[in-house]
Symmetry: C2
Subunit: 146 residues, 2 copies
């Protein structure tokens, strides 16, 4: 469970650059995505907050972040809404993701992985393919140590 240096990111500026107002909750939220190394659900966001916030505001913030290229939806074991940080190349105009996801069947967390080689398929029996999703299911390092 390594932590990457936070690199002194100005989260307010980041929000502005993506066309979003910098409110205290949204600054907290984007920072939370930067320091968490797995995908976040609404409930996990609530658990990380030191104050109360309406779930509706969380859903709206997540939708706005996604629309403006800050985060992307990831698969979740229970089909709940769950998001992870985008690469800096993403914007509202172009969301591009071509990476696999790792799902732990024990703790139910989702991780993005960037160095798994996704097969390239353009066509399958007349079916035109624009996107190929790969989901690796299993048990994460932490959950094996039990």
């Amino acid at each position: 469970m390594k932590l990457i240096d936070k690199e002194n990111i100005d989260f307010g500026l980041l929000l502005s650059q993506h066309g979003l107002s910098k409110t205290s909750f949204r600054k907290f939220l984007i920072e939370l995505f930067y320091k968490t190394h797995h995908a976040l659900s609404v409930d996990e966001i609530i658990n990380n907050l030191s104050y109360q916030i309406d779930k509706v505001s969380i859903y709206r913030a997540l939708n706005a972040f996604e629309k403006n290229g800050l985060i992307h939806k990831v698969p979740d074991k229970a089909n709940l809404i769950k998001y992870a940080l985008c690469k800096s190349e993403c914007s509202s105009e172009k969301h591009l993701h071509n990476h696999a996801h790792l799902l732990c069947s024990i703790c139910n967390e989702t991780y993005c992985i960037n160095d798994f080689k996704i097969p390239v398929v353009n066509e399958y029996k007349g079916f035109l393919i624009n996107n190929l999703k790969v989901i690796l299911e299993g048990s994460c390092v932490d959950c094996q140590q039990i």
Copy 2:
């Protein structure tokens, strides 16, 4: 949209062999799975019925079919519950699926494909993999012809 011969299957017997009672609706339902070549949602089942049936009975039949190895859940674009027929090897003891799925972004149908080669991965950076899912997204043959 080819149709495979129905091969004179005794659907009542098939239900019995899987530990299920042969009611008229369940015979109709398993037959519908056999003659449809894409995965079925609850609404599509209703559209195929010539009489009324409670949605709850459909959900319960689907759960029972899945539990007893007749059908398996497939991914769906809108995260609705959708099922497709299992291979005859499946039973309540052992459900084994190792095939990819094709999702048409236009008509939203899901197809099982059996000859797409799934990458074999047992481990990824300490993460133990038991299952690897592949989803091909694109446009099906019918939808391209518009």
